[in-house]
């Protein structure tokens, strides 16, 4: 059903704008919980994003914006409510729409907007050291403010009972990974509850972006998460292009797709080696996949001048063109990398011991994945048929569609198989792009207009949604939501029931970004 028709069924939902697949509507703040519940449960439009804005200067109120996805119609519905400055609260939607749970805690920490009735209003972003009543995303908080050091409680869940003990892990881990703290409550080796404390790498990206021009913002966007630079740059570029109403040339679209798929390949090869090798102790797999990944990183260095597929995608197109012989070289590296990876992976899949570790480990049931609003590989491995490349086609994905890879068992093995299949398709797509590429412009001029834009990209990790609002030619608010933000809480479901030594395997099978979540 078209989103417009759905809105017509809600007398308390006022349509305000309908352009380019983004439908904006407003509602009374007291109705938001009921509207969100009906949209998610009756109309099956999953909640994809929720963010706040500080509109006190014009309206004496804050804005809370919820974004629902109408995949079948390729439309996003943005429902906004106004929350008055003097009474900054609204009825929480978490009780019925679980996917909102972190977004609402985030709103409370960053804006001081209270979701009334939220079942778990502990701190999320702010650790103990941040004093009470500090709301960094309010406009009267300076980006370079010097805060006092406080010691506010940051409680974690405990389980009591005979023989139950806690294992704290992190934030500094034994391996070379990012910082996060995990608290296991276990009986023997079996995990009973698992909770994470994240936001250790919170650098204040959203606040820094405020007041920046589009060009100034790009370096920060590319450094939200080091391993998905081009995907974040594309999501941001697309939201700017939506606002400015610019259509980019075909060659630029195809080169964007090429870069995104090369980034996906690089990281899928990494993950196949990391899960299969480091996660299980089958180091032969890791050694080989990491060597192939290094070749892909060197390919990036050759093509883009850096090892992270960075610096090419810009609003308006791409900043660098590739000569025909360069692309032929790219294809030969990609083809070899793929063939060798498959040889290694097939060796792994032929091992009973290997399969034994992956199968039935870290199961994410479909209902849980839906409830938590899981995205990306984790969602597809649990049977959720969503992929922004098909549902909200961007770059060249409309012209060169990719089939969506679905598995149903939801275990580590399912996530492994989804990655293998996606790797296969990335390679096929890279070949199609390279052989169909025609000469042409790679960039178009655009004037930055004021307005709201939403860019979505299916990165190798999952769907990025970048919401941008431009005011007076500068960024007024930008929330680049990393897929990791949606998936971190899944550990509370995936972990329990497994033994502690299987946790690294579960962790690697999701491979979430800390920096991308923490912002």
């Amino acid at each position: 059903m078209k989103t417009i028709e759905i809105i017509a069924r809600f007398p308390n939902l006022k349509l305000s704008k309908n352009a380019g697949g983004i439908i904006e509507a407003s509602a009374d703040r007291d109705d938001i919980a009921a509207i969100a519940t009906a949209l998610v449960q009756d109309h099956k439009l999953p909640l994809s994003l929720m963010f706040g804005t500080d509109d006190r200067e014009e309206k004496k109120s804050f804005g809370v914006h919820t974004v629902f996805s109408n995949d079948a119609e390729h439309e996003r519905l943005v429902v906004s409510i106004e929350v008055p400055e003097q009474d900054a609260q609204y009825p929480s939607i978490t009780a019925t729409v679980m996917a909102a749970h972190w977004y609402e805690r985030y709103l409370r920490d960053m804006f001081g907007i209270e979701p009334k009735g939220h079942p778990d209003l502990r701190r999320l972003v702010h650790h103990e050291n941040v004093p009470e009543n500090i709301f960094p995303l309010r406009k009267d908080f300076a980006w370079n403010a010097k805060m006092e050091y406080a010691n506010v409680a940051y409680p974690m869940h405990h389980v009591a009972g005979e023989g139950i003990y806690e294992i704290p892990v992190g934030p500094i881990h034994a391996g070379i990974i990012e910082p996060g703290h995990f608290r296991f409550n276990v009986a023997g080796e079996r995990i009973i509850t698992l909770e994470g404390k994240l936001f250790f790498t919170h650098k204040g990206v959203e606040k820094i972006l405020e007041g920046k021009t589009v060009v100034e913002a790009l370096p920060f966007i590319e450094r939200i998460s080091g391993d998905m630079s081009s995907a974040h740059a594309l999501a941001f570029a697309q939201s700017i292009e939506v606002i400015s109403g610019c259509e980019i040339p075909r060659r630029a679209k195809m080169l964007r797709t090429l870069l995104l798929e090369l980034e996906r390949m690089t990281m899928h090869v990494h993950d196949l080696g990391n899960i299969g090798g480091m996660g299980t102790g089958y180091s032969f797999i890791a050694a080989n996949c990491f060597r192939i990944k290094e070749r892909l990183m060197r390919l990036s260095e050759k093509m883009t001048g850096n090892r992270f597929w960075r610096g090419v995608i810009v609003p308006g197109g791409v900043d660098k063109d590739f000569a025909a012989d360069e692309l032929i070289h790219t294809w030969s590296v990609v083809k070899n990398a793929y063939q060798e990876t498959m040889e290694i992976i097939n060796t792994a899949l032929g091992s009973e011991g290997f399969l034994e570790r992956l199968q039935t480990t870290g199961v994410l049931p479909k209902e849980a994945a839906e409830a938590f609003g899981a995205v990306g590989v984790a969602a597809r491995a649990s049977g959720i048929d969503r992929d922004a490349r098909r549902d909200y086609p961007y770059a060249a994905y409309a012209e060169f569609p990719v089939p969506v890879v679905i598995e149903s068992t939801g275990d580590v093995y399912a996530r492994y198989k989804v990655r293998i299949e996606e790797l296969k398709q990335s390679v096929a797509l890279v070949e199609k792009i390279i052989s169909n590429l025609e000469e042409g412009a790679i960039m178009v001029g655009y004037a930055v207009k004021d307005g709201f834009g939403l860019g979505s990209v299916e990165s190798w990790r999952g769907e990025i949604l970048c919401a941008v609002r431009i005011k007076d030619g500068k960024i007024d608010r930008c929330f680049p939501r990393d897929p990791s933000f949606c998936n971190w809480a899944l550990f509370g479901i995936i972990g329990p029931g497994n033994i502690v030594p299987d946790f690294p395997l579960c962790n690697k099978s999701l491979n979430l970004s800390y920096s991308g979540t923490d912002l």
Partner: protein, 177 residues
């Protein structure tokens, strides 16, 4: 027959993960040379034993971690030069700290440094760790690593490549007595 095939591969097959031809570029020769130098310095300083490194993420974007992990792949394989990453700061001669150090990690970085035995060489890896980089002055960031713990050597870069990191380590060891 499968058994005979296996024996053949074991005894007469190729014994490397990457064939020689794939590893003979000028870049790889450079790594080899730097590595040999590092090996000599480690021999001089630690009497033939190895140099143990503990990596600490002080708030990076994870690009630095990717490059540190890359040091272990077949192209760089730093173990052959007597360098290795350890799981605890208590076993470390050297700390690699990436950053900028965020407020939320300040205590963890300090504690890690205190847990490492003396003398401990602290290396700041990447622009964020060296100067605070583009994140400097943000409300959520403390800044460069030297604002939290003493830093002995800085390896700038966004992020520095594995080769640059190795060069930096060599520089750090050369200055030591």
């Amino acid at each position: 027959m499968a058994f005979i095939k296996l024996l053949k591969i074991l005894f007469f097959g190729p014994k490397v993960t990457e064939s020689e031809s794939g590893l003979s570029g000028p870049k790889d020769q450079e790594i080899q040379n730097i590595g040999e130098e590092i090996k000599k310095e480690v021999e001089r300083l630690y009497g033939g034993r190895s140099l143990r490194i503990r990596a600490v993420d002080g708030g990076s974007t994870n690009a630095e971690e990717i490059e540190l992990t890359a040091l272990l792949n077949a192209y760089y394989d730093i173990d052959r030069f007597g360098l290795s990453f350890v799981a605890s700061p208590r076993h470390a001669d050297m700390l690699f700290v990436t950053g900028p150090v965020t407020r939320n990690l300040e205590a963890a970085v300090k504690k890690t440094y205190q847990a490492a035995p003396e003398p401990c060489i602290v290396v700041a890896i990447g622009d964020g760790a060296c100067t605070g980089g583009i994140w400097n002055d943000s409300y959520a960031v403390v800044g460069s690593v030297d604002k939290v713990i003493p830093v002995h050597i800085r390896i700038p870069g966004d992020p520095p490549t594995p080769t640059e990191i190795l060069k930096g380590v060599l520089g750090a060891l050369r200055g030591k007595k």
